[in-house]
């Protein structure tokens, strides 16, 4: 078994996958605590659907530009090259960011309630995304494309070194923001009106959280695919909340759980050749049940 692992880890692609996977797990778990406590558990889910829609838009743009220019036009060639090099992130990231900000705005404006708006945007973008990808497909294997976007079955094993550095940079930004604004994030999560009254710009921090969520969702699409992102965000936070009683404890524990689960999930998926995303989520689920049982036992004694 160890030989098999050693063999696999001699490939740089597998090493990249592990690095990116652990970083994403760390970031999403940090943010997950805030999102779950603020009753935004579904925002990850909604944004991931938006990201799926954006991904199909990127595919369509790529194909159309290629068709129109038929390879002669240097501008078009440059454009397709940019899209391909960044794994469509140039298109996916801005769209997801805008959706995150919009969702947050609708939360404050009560004409359409937050959860309804979320459901609307997420289902809508899923439908449009699937339609686009069906109408202008780049390859013959449409369902394969859809599945790998939704469940991230292969894309984490096809990361380039550029993408790895991009992920490292984004993860560094997320962690730095979290460390620097830890106090404010705690205050705004616990009690928005008090924070506002004491001069913390609560809306600004809500926006910050939305932007970071969007970043993480786009990042995590590579790892677990867009459908399973909310699991990556919610599970570690919920598990940690079973046991720990201070905010700091919950955050640290949730980060540790998430990293361990992502690590074991990745290695297990290599060993038993199961799909990466669902294996990681299964590990997260197992951790959740273990923590629930431990909490029950501790309560009784």
């Amino acid at each position: 078994m160890i030989d098999k692992l050693m063999y696999y880890f001699s490939f740089p692609l597998v090493r990249y996958a592990l690095i990116v996977g652990l970083l994403i797990a760390l970031c999403s778990s940090l943010l997950g605590v805030t999102l779950v406590l603020k009753r935004f558990s579904f925002i990850g889910d909604g944004l991931s659907h938006v990201a799926f829609g954006a991904m199909s838009v990127a595919t369509v743009v790529d194909v159309t530009v290629k068709q129109v220019a038929s390879g002669d036009n240097p501008v078009a060639r440059g454009l397709t090259k940019i899209i391909e090099n960044t794994n469509s992130m140039v298109i996916v990231l801005p769209i997801t960011l805008i959706a995150a900000i919009l969702l947050l705005r609708t939360g404050q404006n009560t004409k359409i309630k937050g959860d309804a708006a979320l459901a609307m945007i997420s289902v809508g973008s899923l439908a449009v995304g699937y339609m686009l990808i069906n109408m202008f497909s780049a390859s013959a294997n449409v369902s394969g494309d859809v599945c790998s976007t939704l469940f991230g079955s292969t894309s984490i094993l096809t990361l380039t070194i550029g993408e790895v550095w991009l992920s490292v940079a984004l993860a560094a930004v997320v962690i730095a923001v979290f460390l620097i604004f830890y106090k404010q994030i705690f205050a705004v999560t616990f009690d928005e009106s008090f924070a506002q009254a004491t001069g913390v710009r609560a809306n600004g921090y809500n926006l910050l959280v939305a932007v970071i969520t969007a970043l993480i969702v786009v990042l995590a699409m590579n790892l677990v695919g867009s459908l399973l992102i909310s699991a990556l965000i919610i599970f570690p936070a919920l598990s940690a909340m079973r046991l720990f009683k201070s905010f700091r404890g919950v955050i640290i524990c949730s980060a540790v759980i998430s990293v361990i689960c992502a690590g074991t999930g990745l290695i297990a998926s290599i060993l038993f050749s199961t799909p990466v995303g669902s294996t990681i989520v299964t590990a997260d689920m197992a951790a959740f049940f273990i923590f629930t049982i431990i909490a029950k036992i501790l309560k009784r004694s």
Binding site: V36, L37, K38, R39, S41, F42, D45, N141, S143, G144, C147, S148, F151, S153, L179, I180, F181, Y182, K183, Q184, F186, A187, T189, F190, D191, E192, S193, F194, A195, Q196, A197, T198, G199, V200, V224, L227, L228, S230, A231, I234, F235, L238, M241, F244, K245, S246, F247, R248, G249, V250, T274, P275, G277, S278, V281, T282, D284, M285, F288
Partner: protein
């Protein structure tokens, strides 16, 4: 006594539509002002204005230098807080957030201030406990300690006794009165009659305008005060209605926590089932492509 807060002919409202007009009152240092009013009379709008979150549409609100740095605020409890995993110490320290500014962590002085305020409210032994495990009265003490960390000059309490049992209500009123005697100015928003007993001044606002402002003695002697006290104490049905309105909140929190869990579980199951099936399908597709 030094005047801390002066409202001169203030009109408040949203998007150009006035909610209350002609607010005219003064709060001096050491006062205990009780703001009374029915639901929808603009109490919460006034609270926001006093906190500086919304501007006055006309008139002016003058703050003395002492309270320009902020007001210690005790907001109404939200659903989010009831099952929040945070220690008492963490919450009390978060009151120092303005003092700490953009510094990532609290310094020794701020931590000492937090400990001091916990001792002042008799919750030092709860410091390591989890907020969600405390009783309602203890939770309010924690939030009071946090407000005192923000400023020791003036506290603004928004319906502080809502949801507490009568014993805890009396204790909390006593504690607030005690803080007031030690020199903290109090502004308390309430629709509870027993709040009047401790106050030095009363501000009663009606549906559009200010009905009364003056000392407690004057208020009790006035017709308005007497009718308010009689209707409120004689009408037990009103309290029950309040209780019914407030009850659904804990259920809501339960539902959303369950929803989160369900979302997670759903995503997880989907992952295992569909993921495995589709993975095989895609693999087969790849093989046939070759």
């Amino acid at each position: 006594m030094a005047e801390q807060l002066i409202c001169r002919n203030v009109t408040l409202g949203y998007e150009g539509i006035p909610v209350t007009e002609g607010l005219d009152f003064t709060v001096s240092s050491g006062d205990y002002l009780c703001i009374l009013g029915e639901n929808g009379s603009g109490k919460s709008t006034l609270v926001k204005a006093l906190l500086g979150l919304i501007p006055a549409m006309s008139g002016e609100i003058i703050r003395s230098g002492e309270i320009a740095g902020g007001v210690g605020y005790l907001p109404q409890q939200t659903v989010v807080q009831r099952d929040f995993p945070a220690s008492v110490r963490e919450i009390v320290r978060s009151g120092c957030i303005r003092k700490a500014g953009l510094r990532p962590f609290y310094n020794r002085e701020e931590k000492a201030l937090a400990e001091e305020n916990m001792a002042r409210l008799g919750i030092s032994e709860l410091a390591g406990r989890c907020y969600r495990e405390l009783s309602g009265g203890q939770q309010q003490r924690v939030l009071l300690a946090r407000a005192l960390c923000a400023t020791g000059h003036i506290l603004l309490l928004d319906e502080p006794v809502t949801g507490l049992d009568p014993k805890a209500q009396a204790d909390l009123y006593e504690l607030i009165a005690q803080l007031n005697r030690s020199g903290v100015t109090m502004i308390m928003v309430s629709h509870d009659v027993s709040a009047v007993r401790y106050a030095s001044h009363i501000l009663h606002i009606g549906s559009r305008e200010q009905l009364f402002f003056g000392t407690r003695q004057d208020y009790l002697a006035s017709r308005l005060g007497q009718s308010f006290l009689i209707t409120e104490t004689g009408d037990a049905g009103g309290d029950e209605a309040d209780a019914e309105i407030e009850q659904p909140e804990p259920e809501c929190s339960g539902v959303s926590a369950k929803a989160a869990a369900a979302a997670a579980a759903g995503a997880g199951l989907l992952a295992v089932g569909t993921g495995a099936a589709i993975y095989k399908y895609v693999k087969r597709g790849e093989q046939s492509d070759r």
